[in-house]
């Protein structure tokens, strides 16, 4: 199996979905595929912050949280 599935939540657009990624994908690959600038978000897995070079695993629960203030 060369693919993994991760569940993502993007708070800014209130988006929930499951993505299929290459095995060995890291957080920055995920952000790139969603066209999100890493400067504008923090990323958590099971409520722990993770860095951009963190390897993603099958069935990860990933939250992508916007750092932009709401006004």
């Amino acid at each position: 199996m060369n693919k993994i599935k991760v569940n993502i939540f993007v708070d800014r657009n209130n988006l929930n979905k499951t993505l299929e990624l290459d095995k060995n994908s890291i957080v920055s690959d995920l952000l790139k595929s969603l066209n999100i600038n890493p400067v504008t978000v923090i990323v958590s897995r099971s409520n722990e912050l993770i860095l951009e070079d963190e390897k993603l695993k099958n069935n990860d629960e990933i939250k992508i949280l916007s750092v932009i203030s709401g006004g």
Binding site: D11, R12, V39, I42, E48, L49, L65, G70
Partner: protein, 312 residues
């Protein structure tokens, strides 16, 4: 390079990677250093914190509350303004009161409805103006007036490095240098202490991403919630541009703010003075005979009578 054997949660522009407790320590000492460097807080203060319930103001309050616990001569009060924006401010204020209750911090809430007779939502039905224009005028007005009534010595806000950086560039692009002379880690005009309560920005050197990480790690980050009134398109463009530059060139935002700080004394010197009037109607500071808040209150009154606008 990792700080210790704990899992890193944040990477600094220098490449250093910090764990949860080292990042929290780094962030808090950065704020305390900012306070010291710019002389934001004295030994004895009756401080106000302008609280919106968002991550920035909650983080400031959390840190200043720690400072106050260590230094009992520094008193803390939270002030929140309820503009009356359905589906938005009610939610953030809930988070604000929850935090203040938990930490036994006194929270004063002042609403547009009570102070001016109308919520922001209602005002926007009556007057055709950009929401942020009147929202900002009335918010600044109330914060200053209420801070004086509460005898606050200073008012801390949640402005961070990104906010400041955006404002600096926006002023440059609009050729509004005089407005930049008023940007600073501490604003307010000291000669007019009786008219203005000085504003301080303890998060001045913290990026928005750092503030968000701090808020997340300390349980201060609430669900994402955005004001329904379209955010200023110009600021959003500048913000996106800056974030793109920051991504390609980490540290760009620091450089912009740091070089601005070097020119600030010259700007302040050039634009010092300027006569401040006292509003004929309400005695608050004004650029003209009547302050902006009173001008808009009059406009609201006239349009309301003219069009007999129904407020439903």
């Amino acid at each position: 390079m990792n700080c210790c054997n704990q899992k890193p949660v944040m990477e600094m522009p220098s490449g250093e990677r910090l764990c949860k407790s080292h990042f929290t320590e780094y962030f808090e000492s950065k704020v305390f250093n900012t306070i010291r460097k710019f002389d934001l807080i004295g030994k004895e203060e009756n401080l106000g914190v302008a609280l919106s319930g968002g991550k920035d103001s909650l983080s400031v309050l959390n840190i200043l509350n720690k400072l106050s616990i260590q230094n009992p001569k520094i008193k803390i009060n939270a002030i929140a303004i309820d503009e009356g924006i359905a589906g938005y401010r009610d939610k953030t204020l809930e988070k604000a009161s929850e935090f203040c209750d938990k930490n036994s911090i006194q929270l004063h809430i002042f609403s547009y409805k009570e102070e001016f007779g109308l919520t922001l939502d209602e005002m926007l039905k009556i007057l055709k103006v950009k929401p942020c224009t009147i929202c900002g005028i009335f918010r600044r007005y109330l914060l200053n007036k209420k801070s004086k009534e509460l005898k606050l010595t200073k008012l801390a806000t949640g402005h961070n490095l990104d906010d400041e950086c955006q404002s600096i560039l926006m002023n440059q692009m609009r050729n509004a240098v005089e407005a930049s002379a008023r940007l600073s880690p501490k604003t307010g005009i000291t000669q007019n202490e009786s008219l203005f309560v000085q504003r301080i920005k303890p998060l001045y050197l913290c990026t928005e991403k750092e503030v968000t990480a701090y808020a997340f790690l300390n349980g201060l980050l609430d669900n994402f919630c955005e004001c329904p009134n379209a955010p200023q398109a110009f600021r959003a463009n500048v913000r996106d541009m800056l974030n793109e530059l920051e991504q390609k060139n980490p540290g760009t935002k620091y450089s912009i703010v740091n070089s601005f700080l070097q020119t600030l004394p010259f700007l302040k010197e050039k634009f010092k003075g300027g006569i401040i009037n006292i509003c004929l109607k309400c005695s608050e500071p004004a650029a003209n005979e009547v302050c902006n808040a009173c001008v808009y209150l009059e406009k609201l009154k006239i349009s309301r009578e003219l069009f007999k606008t129904e407020l439903v």
